[in-house]
């Protein structure tokens, strides 16, 4: 009886090896970034980017945090993420509420109105012209929030969840004389904790990580979110290194390490909360997968 058991553990060992290799693949770029950001600029010039740098230095962080710009970037990113998440979630849930009620006659019309936007759009240029010339949103903080306020996928996800709740709950509330707002805020939302939490997390991740809106719509430095600051630094360094202006081994500007420190500063908040929020994302993807 020992032979088959042994065979099983060999295949388990192979599976574990494969996963360890793949997990190394997914995590090494992050670890490398951490190490480069805390290594001395001179050891980068000498040995290249390394997981085991020769010298350590926090100059890159000192350089970045010495200016006001980074704090401003944080502030913009936080304002955009918070207000976008709260507004987007509330509006999506209210919309889903109307679409989930059997007694709302035009609920399918509303669904179609939203669905059409998922399969056809005017293209980027009409969108850009409309936002800049007609809405005058260019170079305002609203330009970083409003254009991606609602994701139709999320609306359908919430609607499907609302629909799956037992209708008797809402009916009995109505018989007791509760109005639509009361049922929405006191019954529907509290019962939908998992989906609301997941959608909130997906929306905030999308806002925190977005730099496309800033790329199209923001010119003033004081409105740069963190990700866009990183983009600007990266393209500046790429430009300098491609045009050969960068002084090799320069003591004053730790550009290579500073770039990586900047990467860590933008993903820091995500890494801090990742262990705690990860399971909600998993739950949400599973809800979406099952309910389609």
């Amino acid at each position: 009886m020992t032979a088959p058991k042994k065979r099983v553990s060999i295949s388990q060992a192979i599976f574990h090896t494969i996963f360890i290799a793949f997990c190394a693949f997914t995590t090494i770029p992050f670890l490398l970034t951490v190490m480069v950001s805390i290594s001395g600029e001179s050891s980068v010039f000498k040995n290249g980017y390394s997981l085991f740098p020769e010298t350590f230095s926090l100059d890159a962080y000192r350089l970045i945090f010495s200016g006001d710009e980074i704090w401003n970037g944080y502030l913009i990113s936080i304002i955009v993420t918070l207000s976008g998440t709260v507004l987007g979630l509330l509006i999506s849930a209210m919309l889903a509420n109307a679409m989930a009620m059997p007694k709302v006659k035009y609920r399918n019309g509303i669904a179609l109105f939203i669905f059409i936007t998922m399969i056809f759009n005017a293209g980027l240029v009409p969108w850009y012209i409309f936002i800049t010339k007609y809405l005058h949103l260019k170079d305002t903080i609203a330009a970083l929030i409003l254009p991606m306020l609602i994701n139709p996928f999320n609306v359908f996800l919430i609607r499907n969840y609302f629909k799956s709740l037992p209708p008797a709950l809402l009916e009995s509330a109505e018989i007791e004389g509760a109005g639509p707002f009361y049922t929405f805020t006191r019954i529907l939302l509290p019962l939908s904790g998992p989906i609301i939490a997941t959608v909130a997390l997906f929306i905030s991740l999308a806002y925190w990580n977005d730099w496309g809106l800033a790329l199209w719509l923001i010119d003033s430095r004081e409105l740069y979110p963190l990700q866009f600051m990183l983009f600007k630094i990266q393209s500046m360094i790429n430009f300098m290194s491609s045009s050969g202006n960068m002084v090799s081994g320069s003591q004053t500007l730790p550009s290579e390490t500073a770039q990586m420190a900047m990467v860590l500063i933008t993903i820091g908040p995500i890494m801090l909360v990742y262990p705690f929020i990860q399971k909600y994302f998993v739950k949400g993807i599973m809800i979406g997968a099952v309910k389609g």
Partner: protein, 304 residues
């Protein structure tokens, strides 16, 4: 008409709650639609959409007469098709494999580590790629040197970049897709496996004849959703990796990066509008075609 007002009055609170959301879609998706006319005009800011001069199909002609139309369309479709094919194969394989891992502690740990890259922004991903492939300090060239191979100037060799982009896609999205497929696998009725075990079926046969066939509907839905976007390039990732590096355009320039550069770097409006309209129409027709094809095969799996 009376019925409509009656309905709006009766459920007015529901419609009022839906109103902000409907306004969003009206303003950001429907009101820009007349801007499609820009594609047929010589647009200038002073005269606006309706006042600018008509030029017929001239904007389209500019795009289609050069090499750009073919190159950007091919790159967009080719990169996305590779994303779909290799992304799906890798994710399905890892989902099945993860389900075979006995200890739940390891299952959860592997899942967390695989999922991690999903949380990084495209611009952070661009930096990671630079750490690995930078010709001067990059990790890949260090490895090559260790093996006594000549270093490669990656950022000027267009030939490698589709492979690199697909690798990045797998790196970033496998964790997410594995969770999706694992949800389906976990949902498979245990009785099926138990009945198979009674018939003396081995592990590979179980995967081949039970797990894989039951994964097909999920794979079809995920593929359909991705196929619906096949004419839309992965702008944020590609632009953060390639940027304005013309040496790599041959294999990496997709419709979206081309449109962006035309608007932002060249300051052109009308020609990119025409390209965008061409992209929207192709994407729309392709979604209809995909859905029609799936309906023919199996009505239950169609999206609409």
């Amino acid at each position: 008409m009376n019925g409509m007002f009656e309905e709006l009055r009766r459920n007015k609170w529901y419609y009022l709650m839906a109103l902000p959301g409907l306004l969003f879609f009206l303003v950001f998706c429907y009101l820009p639609l007349p801007g499609i006319l820009i594609a047929f005009k010589d647009y200038n800011f002073a005269d606006g959409i309706f006042g600018s001069r008509w030029v017929g199909l001239q904007n389209f002609a500019f795009y289609f007469q050069g090499d750009y139309a073919w190159r950007t369309t091919f790159n967009t479709l080719f990169i996305n098709a590779n994303y779909i094919v290799f992304g799906t194969i890798v994710a399905v394989a890892f989902a099945i494999l993860l389900n075979e891992i006995r200890k739940s502690f390891f299952r959860r740990m592997y899942q967390s580590l695989m999922f991690l890259p999903y949380f990084f922004s495209a611009i952070v991903v661009g930096n990671f790629v630079y750490l690995i492939f930078s010709s001067k300090y990059g990790m890949f060239n260090q490895l090559l040197q260790m093996m006594n191979q000549a270093a490669i100037d990656w950022y000027s060799a267009a030939g490698y970049w589709v492979t690199i982009l697909v690798g990045v896609f797998i790196w970033k999205n496998t964790g997410y897709a594995v969770i999706l497929y694992l949800a389906t696998i976990v949902g498979i009725d245990d009785e099926l496996y138990e009945a198979a075990a009674l018939d003396g079926v081995n592990r590979w046969q179980k995967i081949r004849y039970i797990t894989l066939p039951l994964l097909v509907p999920t794979v079809i839905i995920v593929t359909l959703l991705a196929a619906g976007k096949i004419f839309y390039g992965d702008f944020q990732t590609i632009y953060s990796i390639v940027g304005d590096n013309g040496l790599l355009f041959e294999t990496t320039d997709v419709i979206d990066t081309y449109v962006f550069r035309a608007v932002k770097n060249v300051g052109d409006i009308s020609m990119p509008a025409a390209v965008g309209l061409y992209q929207s129409l192709c994407g729309f027709l392709f979604v209809l075609a995909c859905n029609w094809a799936v309906k023919k095969v199996n009505n239950d799996n169609a999206l609409f």
